[in-house]
């Protein structure tokens, strides 16, 4: 490693210019007397421009700048799960230990606990020939997740020796014939995607337990989704719901330039939430990155790369990983801030001209892949977007929507009425259904796609009828159309609305979602019959069993009770004819 010393020439906020060194682009350097961590982001004649990951006040020109020879990398290995890191993979609990509750600067901390011993269980043996990604052994990292120790990219050969036992992550667990030593920890530069063999089309849905998402606008495992919305419309709650309930194996949650308390909430809550799949705490499968709004912007810029590299690493083990980034707009703003300090030529709204390519490169790191080892793994990426004033014509929203395949559009009007999730069902979309429909037919019901179409069609018709109602009032509509409005209202209030904070309502599995949707359509069908048989609309829509059916979703055991409730409702609707 070539070490060279230079000195600071200029300091302007998080951007420091050094002279007297000639580092490589993206090399990590140590800045100033306190050795603040920084990354070279521009080379300019004699000058190297550095973004510094820590607060720079008090730093002076003339202080030293030291090369490290390394690019910004993360440490990968057992010990990532259940952790919370800042944007450059410093564990926050470690920072608390060394500097108390306020984050001071100039402190280094390893991403992995280098001293902790893990029980390494060798699954390969001497004589095996191994290539990158090959799993040589496993470690039970948490109660539910088996960590698969892989041959790092760029290494291959024949195993000379390997042994099970207690090791820390820097000890050699396996030696190759050529003398190459393999440890459980590998390092990877965050700005470089990890390699895989090839990308596959996604064909399995990421089930989230959120009715409007799963049923109307599904995300595929390995897919990409954007959630733009003004403040208070539900981006964070939606992301947290996905982190809690989606059926991924691993969750990487990035709090990028958002509130400190929201991360605390996740930290408090996740250890107590039980994963419906494993019966164990959800925390077991989760890694968190927290670089909140008041933490240094350069580290915020890095945080999404740190997160996605960790996600790719678990993907390479053959896991389905879901990554949430809340909010990608803050990441983009960090880019803008750094860019403006570099006095780069600004593009739209002051964002750098490379904004859209950075967004595209980031989302490109999602996907369902054949791993180097021949397995199947995926990274799904869900990015929140925070458009100024809620207007999505701005560059970050537009740059995101050009790339992602799912658009969950949050709507301030719905949020104001406390219709949650405030996802606008008319302008949101998912491009995945055609590739997922076979899965639904095989696993849920052979007519699942048709039922979905019927439900969305009803919502469309409602929107058209509402325009008329705005002019003449609903009583002026013919009875069959009034019924359509009632059915659509039932879809909205009973199916689309879902209270994230209600113990039961917070999660609905896909089979039950289907049953609920069918129940709505039965209500429609039976009511039509009753109306044709002379019943009054008022009586039909007010049968008590319908209210019971709707309120029932707040009670546990609903999946068992719903059939009976539905039958009662059908019976009561039929009775409305006899009354007349």
């Amino acid at each position: 490693m070539s070490k060279e010393n230079g000195v600071i020439y200029r300091i302007s906020g998080p951007v420091v210019t050094a002279v007297g060194i000639s580092p490589r682009m993206y090399e990590v350097v140590r800045v100033g007397d306190e050795g603040l961590m920084g990354e070279v982001i521009e080379l300019h004649g004699e000058q190297s421009v550095i973004q510094v990951y820590e607060e720079t006040s008090g730093v002076r020109p003339g202080e030293p700048v030291i090369r490290t020879g390394q690019t910004l990398s993360v440490q990968l290995g057992p010990g990532l799960l259940t952790k919370i890191y800042d944007g450059i993979q410093r564990p926050l609990p470690e920072l608390e230990k060394t500097m108390g509750v306020f984050i001071k600067r100039g402190v280094d901390a390893d991403g992995l606990d280098l001293k902790k011993n893990w029980n390494f269980n060798a699954t390969a043996k001497a004589g095996d020939s191994v290539t990158p990604g090959y799993v040589i052994g496993t470690v039970q990292e948490t109660k539910t997740i088996e960590h698969r120790v892989m041959i790092p990219p760029g290494t291959s050969g024949v195993i000379k020796s390997i042994s099970s036992g207690e090791f820390n992550v820097t000890q050699t667990v396996c030696t190759l014939e050529d003398g190459n030593e393999i440890q459980m920890m590998q390092k990877w530069p965050v700005r470089t995607p990890r390699p895989f063999t090839k990308k596959h089309a996604p064909e399995v849905p990421l089930q989230t337990g959120q009715r409007i998402l799963d049923f109307l606008f599904p995300l595929a495992k390995g897919g990409t989704a954007g959630i733009p919305g003004p403040f208070g419309s539900g981006k964070t709650v939606t992301q947290q719901q996905l982190a809690k309930w989606s059926d991924a194996d691993i969750v990487v949650y990035i709090g990028c330039g958002e509130r400190g308390n929201e991360m605390t909430e996740v930290l408090d809550e996740f250890p107590h939430l039980i994963d419906p799949k494993t019966g164990e705490a959800l925390m077991n499968r989760t890694t968190m990155i927290a670089n909140t709004s008041n933490m240094p912007v350069a580290a915020r810029e890095a945080s999404v790369y740190t997160g996605i590299t960790i996600a790719e690493y678990f993907r390479d083990m053959g896991y389905d990983v879901a990554l949430m980034a809340d909010s990608t707009s803050r990441w983009a703003e960090a880019m803008r801030e750094i860019s403006s300090r570099l006095e780069e030529m600004p593009g739209e709204e002051g964002y750098p001209a490379y904004l859209s390519s950075r967004l595209a490169e980031f989302y490109e790191r999602a996907g369902r892949v054949e791993t180097l080892a021949g397995g199947d793994g995926s990274v799904s990426v869900i990015g929140a977007v925070s458009p100024p004033g809620g207007d999505i014509s701005e560059p970050v929203s537009q740059g995101t929507l050009r790339i992602v395949k799912v658009f969950w559009g949050l709507d301030a009007g719905l949020a104001r009425q406390r219709h949650f999730p405030a996802i606008n069902w008319l302008n949101s979309y998912s491009l995945y259904p055609p590739s997922l429909d076979q899965w639904y037919r095989d696993n849920i019901n052979s007519n699942f796609p048709e039922i979905r179409t019927e439900i969305s069609a009803l919502l469309q018709v409602e929107a058209e009828l509402q325009e008329i109602v705005q002019l003449v009032g609903s009583d002026a509509l013919p009875v069959d159309q009034q019924l359509t409005l009632e059915v659509a209202r039932m879809i909205r209030e009973f199916f689309l609305q879902q209270n994230a904070f209600h113990d039961v309502d917070t999660y609905t599995d896909l089979k039950l979602q289907y049953t609920m949707a069918k129940a709505i359509l039965s209500f429609q069908e039976e009511s039509k019959k009753a109306l044709a048989g002379g019943a009054a609309l008022e009586d039909v829509v007010n049968v008590p069993a319908r209210t019971d059916l709707m309120r029932g979703r707040f009670e546990s055991g609903y999946d068992v009770k719903i059939d009976e409730m539905l039958e009662t409702m059908i019976k009561q609707i039929a009775e409305t004819m006899e009354d007349n």
Binding site: G58, K104, P230, T292, G350, G473, D475, F501
Partner: protein, 461 residues
């Protein structure tokens, strides 16, 4: 490093002074400027290099010339803090304004304030009763929250802030709040209104004021809230106080920020405000909360006036993205003569769920609040329809909702400036009473079990 005086000013632009090569000056370092007539001004380094240093002058650059002497004081801005600050009135730069002695420092605190480690935070979950029904029922405040008031010129936000400061209490404890009040560019009249009210109620003795008025230097406003928050952090996290920080008007703060950006010829973000305004505001607002292992807390009430009543303007917009909700004051309600004119629909408390419910306020609180929102939102929407088609075209349900929206404004929102409603008997019971104007079958947000227990006419006894 201190002591040497430079006379190397090359340019003066707006609030900024540019000077040539000096000794190595620290980023953020404090600067003293001596004008030719002997006047002293203060500033801070915004950009530093071997060749040029840019200084932002707090008192403005009037009368500065190339002969002005500049001294670098060798350190970043620090505030002397001590519990003696309680009961004192300081100016926008932290100097006594009440004729009293200088604050004797218990310690010197860096005013930038380090970020609280998210891992070290503790989730705020203690309900604060403000005695204002709209807030307590619909946007409940908890201790350690940052909840701004989004208002506009001519609206009674100051009355509301003061009413909250007067009435705020925990339901079952008599821990008192210390108020840190921070004025940024408000008029002397507004300021006097605050001070008189605090005096009248005896709260002044329990408050610390930082005051930058409309005729005080605009650039100084950039440090005033940092001083206030530094004092608040000291009191909360070193001295175990529960601190309520009221600062007004954030809009003036943001204007000063824009002024600096323009003087530096930065590429502006939306409507001319700097691109880093989000981060800058976050460095203030995030200095609220609770910290593990510390007894005190910081609850923030920033007040901002929305230019043109526009909630999408960058100042309320970026604030709303950072704070834990917002209380929105409505001109329409104010014009109808309703006090407090809080429009609950765009208002929000993000920490409400953690602070309400069984053992905190009451088990039915969440359900009641959801129902109030839903009914009022629908009722208000129907007002528009009725204006076109008349009430005759409404069905029974819609008629009831329409009527409810008026009742809600008149009976629930409206209360007097000194009316302190207790959460259970005052606010929640009133909500049930008003909701009973709507048939139970239309109250779909209410759990059946709460209807059975609390509905004034439908309850099963």
């Amino acid at each position: 490093m201190t002591g040497k005086e430079y006379r190397t000013i090359t340019d003066v632009k707006g609030p900024l002074v540019f000077l040539n090569k000096t000794e190595p000056v620290a980023f953020g370092e404090i600067v003293e400027l001596r004008l030719t007539d002997g006047t002293l001004k203060n500033g801070q380094v915004l950009d530093t290099s071997d060749d040029q240093v840019i200084v932002q002058v707090f008192e403005g650059t009037a009368s500065i010339d190339k002969q002005t002497g500049i001294k670098f004081l060798g350190d970043v801005f620090k505030l002397p803090v001590s519990t003696d600050m309680i009961g004192r009135i300081l100016d926008g730069a932290g100097r006594p304004r009440d004729g009293g002695p200088a604050i004797v420092a218990d310690e010197m605190a860096d005013i930038i304030g380090a970020a609280i480690n998210p891992y070290s935070r503790q989730s705020p979950d203690t309900f604060i009763q403000t005695g204002i029904s709209a807030i307590d029922a619909c946007t409940s405040l908890v201790r350690g929250q940052k909840l701004p008031i989004f208002s506009a010129s001519g609206l009674p936000h100051n009355d509301i802030a003061l009413q909250i400061a007067r009435q705020a209490k925990l339901v079952d404890s008599d821990d008192d709040f210390v108020v840190v009040f921070c004025a940024m560019g408000i008029t002397a009249e507004e300021y006097n209104f605050f001070v008189h009210d605090l005096e009248r109620t005896g709260a002044l003795e329990n408050a610390c004021l930082f005051v930058n008025l409309a005729d005080d230097p605009a650039v100084e406003r950039l440090i005033t809230p940092r001083l206030a928050l530094t004092a608040a952090e000291y009191l909360a996290f070193e001295k175990d106080y529960h601190v309520l920080v009221i600062y007004t008007d954030m809009t003036n703060y943001c204007e000063s920020l824009r002024q600096i950006g323009a003087a530096r010829e930065e590429v502006p973000g939306r409507r001319g405000y700097p691109g880093y305004m989000y981060t800058d505001l976050a460095m203030l607002y995030e200095r609220a909360g609770l910290v593990k292992g510390k007894k005190g807390s910081i609850t923030q009430f920033p007040i901002l006036t929305m230019p043109g009543d526009d909630i999408t303007h960058p100042i309320p917009d970026l604030s709303g993205y950072i704070t834990e909700g917002q209380i929105v004051i409505s001109r329409e309600l104010h014009q109808k003569g309703i006090y407090p004119p809080i429009n609950v629909l765009p208002s929000l408390s993000r920490l409400m769920n953690a602070g309400i419910g069984d053992g905190k306020t009451r088990e039915d609180h969440k359900s009641v609040s959801d129902q109030l929102y839903a009914a009022y939102a629908q009722g208000r929407e129907l007002r528009g329809l009725v204006a076109i088609v008349g009430e005759d075209a409404l069905n029974e349900r819609d008629l009831q909702l329409l009527k409810f929206s008026d009742i809600f404004e008149d009976k629930f929102l409206r209360q007097s400036r000194d009316e302190d409603r207790p959460i259970q008997e005052g606010t929640l019971d009133l909500a049930w009473k008003l909701l009973s104007n709507i048939d139970t079958k239309y109250l779909v947000r209410l759990d059946q079990k709460w209807i059975d227990k609390y509905h004034p006419t439908d309850k099963k006894e």
